[in-house]
């Protein structure tokens, strides 16, 4: 009893300190922390209060070429300019469905948002992206999405209370999957590792060889139910159903022409099979799927040293058109 009498007031003191700390934190470094590690949250809060349609994307939405493009508008801006609804983007580089689902979950029930458009990036289903070095930063950022007092979220970040995996461990998981996960082809293309070892473009110093490797590593995989990205998109569907939000998935275009030229037609057929599987899965769940997978040609793609979903002005316009058509 004596012990409780001694401890109880001290626990109360600590609770008071935590409450005061929360006030001080929100008044001082909170904004800077948000800016530094969760800037998409600010975008979300702004867009959610103003828009009819929320447009969730990573860099493909807004990346442009400042030397070739004349129209620098993002895809979502192009859509917004062409429909009667207010479309606002919630985007930042390298984020994925794992982040989108948390943000969609935060849309309040009385929100004016009625439709949600989500980019479905085929590459984000591959181990190269799942185990990306940026993943820790993304996971860290998501701690701020918890509905706890700001200082508690910050403390949880400090405790690494997120899916924190060392970059060495991520690399190990990625290499293991490339080495062991079977692909539906005859030898030597039975795994990503053995497929990459096929010397089509000479040694490693050849840029074409490097790019071909990137294509295989990023696009050659089979979809399994364990795929974390698949689970994320499934959850998005469930959240939107529960919140009565109309959901659209936009399957982003990939540079199939370059992929076929650098690797072979089998890679493209594998990619298309996976894409069809995804499209079927989500259409059956009642999602409107806008399939832009093979919408663009090689010249619409911006990056030349890595397969990405960054498009020149014409490419962005084509994607915007396909979305506008469905929204209208």
């Amino acid at each position: 009893m004596d012990m409780i009498k001694k401890i109880a007031p001290r626990i109360l003191m600590i609770a008071i300190i935590v409450v005061i700390s929360n006030f001080i934190y929100k008044a001082t470094t909170y904004e800077a922390d948000l800016e530094g590690s969760a800037n998409v949250l600010g975008k979300f809060e702004d867009a959610e209060s103003k828009a009819d349609v929320l447009y969730f994307s990573s860099s493909p939405n807004a990346t442009y070429s400042d030397w070739q493009d004349t129209d620098y508008r993002s895809i979502s801006q192009m859509v917004d300019d062409s429909v009667d609804l207010k479309v606002m983007s919630v985007d930042t580089g390298a984020i994925h469905a794992g982040v989108f689902k948390h943000l969609i979950h935060m849309i309040p029930s009385n929100s004016k948002v009625k439709k949600v458009i989500v980019h479905l990036n085929y590459r984000s289903f591959g181990q190269g992206w799942i185990q990306s070095e940026l993943e820790n930063a993304i996971q860290k950022e998501m701690v701020f999405y918890n509905n706890y007092p700001a200082i508690l979220n910050r403390y949880l970040q400090g405790l690494n209370a997120y899916d924190a995996v060392s970059s060495k461990e991520r690399e190990r998981i990625m290499l293991e999957s490339w080495e062991k996960e079977p692909l539906p082809f005859d030898p030597p293309r039975t795994t990503v590792k053995t497929w990459c070892a096929v010397e089509k473009w000479g040694d490693w110093t050849n840029p074409k060889r490097q790019l071909a490797d990137h294509y295989i590593k990023n696009f050659a995989f089979t979809l399994s139910e364990d795929n974390p990205r698949l689970k994320d998109y499934d959850e998005i569907v469930e959240i939107c159903k529960a919140k009565n939000l109309e959901l659209y998935f936009v399957i982003l275009p990939e540079n199939l022409e370059e992929g076929e030229a650098l690797v072979d037609a089998d890679l493209i057929s594998l990619m298309k099979d996976n894409k069809d599987q995804l499209k079927k899965r989500y259409e059956e769940k009642g999602v409107t799927v806008i399939d832009d997978f093979d919408l663009l040609n090689d010249e619409d793609f911006l990056e030349r040293t890595f397969p990405s979903e960054h498009y020149f002005e014409d490419g962005r316009k084509e994607i915007a058109k396909s979305i506008i058509k469905v929204l209208k």
């Binding site: 935590v18 400090g158 060392s166």
Partner: protein
Amino acid sequence: MLFDSLEFLLFLPAVILLYWIIPHKFRWLLLLAASYFFYGSWKAEFLVLIMYSTIVDYIAAIQIDKALSQFKKKAWLIVSLCSNFGVLFIFKYFNFFIGSRSFFQKFEGAHPKVEWLTSFLEYGIPVGISFYTFQTVAYTIDVYQGKVKPERNIGKFALFVSYFPQLVAGPIERFSKLHHQIFKKHTLDYDKLQKGFRLILYGMFIKMVIADNIAPIIDPVFDNPLLYSQGDNTISLLLFSVQIYADFHGYSLIAIGVAKLMGVNLMDNFRTPYFAFSIKDFWSRWHISLSNWFRDYLYIPLGGNKVSYLRWVVNILIVFIVSGIWHGANFTFIIWGAIHGLMYLSEQMIVRAKILELKGAFLKGVGLIKTLFVINLAWLFFRSDSVAKAYLSICKMFGTEPTNETYLSIRDVEHAKSHESIEGILSGGTFEVKTLVFDSIYLIPLLFLIGMELLIQQKRFDGVVDKYPFWLRWIIYGLLIYLVMAMSGADFYQFIYFQF
């Protein structure tokens, strides 16, 4: 499960609460289960190794005690030493000697045993293996020397080996000091609880706020010293000396605090080491439990200072170089140990020759600066991935250009790694360390640490704070709670000493 993790913050109160609720006779069983759960939370497979060490040393110690002839005693001691150091060698140094994994790859599919070893080694260095190996080795040597009687209950001995507060990063305790404390009937003592919590709070502050915020600033500089200025390289080295101290000392303080919550007093591992006046003084303040281990189980058995002068010099060098190797299989650690060894010897030679005695404030100040300089120079090798990179850092710090051969070899490595030219990286621009540090709000906790260290000197945080009035104590607690909650490093960085 790291001390500064959410899992541990849930695990600890549950264990402490249960510990004080259940009857004394069951407490050791609770602690054993908790310790194995704690260690297994990293990788359950590692439990096999700690169980192996436990069983071997349990049997060896009993056999040493039972043996009638000196020959048999020695034979069992050798069995214990070989098995302990054998495991340590395989997991920590094997890759270094055989040229890493590629050696095994040749055998893949060839022999099941080799495949098994390959897959096991791929798990990396088992957490804390150097710490618990040294603790159990000390135990068998103590039994051999008749200093302690062996524990006959294997469960209780397993708890001594795996006692979770100090399992993964020390302090490396002796059987004679720790064992009876763990099994003693403790009564709930408010004073110990208070001191324990104070140490945990201060330990969290210096680990999470100081060390974890420094890591992301300086890591890029040590990865590519050539890309940063003379000032940035120098500041990064100074910051590393703060980081490694805060990281390790913070973790040790949490360990001491956690044990105190259960009534157990662990030894101090650090006593403001950067206020040392000499290398000898430094080693009486830095990682004290390891220094004592090397003194008792290596230096003295080698003959200590009761040998010829030349032999003594050799003994000192052996101890420091082995201490370097203890940290890891890399020439950088050997050089780190050698620098300390050579500096220690030169100081002792001056003392022996009575050339200079560190008396008076001025000479002590000179001694302090000289010691800091040597320690920092040695830290450079300790932190660098390779000797070549350490050389580049030194060149940058002293404003000289590295020789072409070294520059090219580093450049080639970087090129192979990134497929980019170093000029390309250079043109990309980098951040300035001094801007990040001196224009940052994180300078406040850094200054707070320096202030506390000046106040603490050779004492301990809990003892110093104890003397303050109630209101001042709570202002300090409040400040520490705020800093830990609002300014901890948020990036994922493992505790530096886990790799050892």
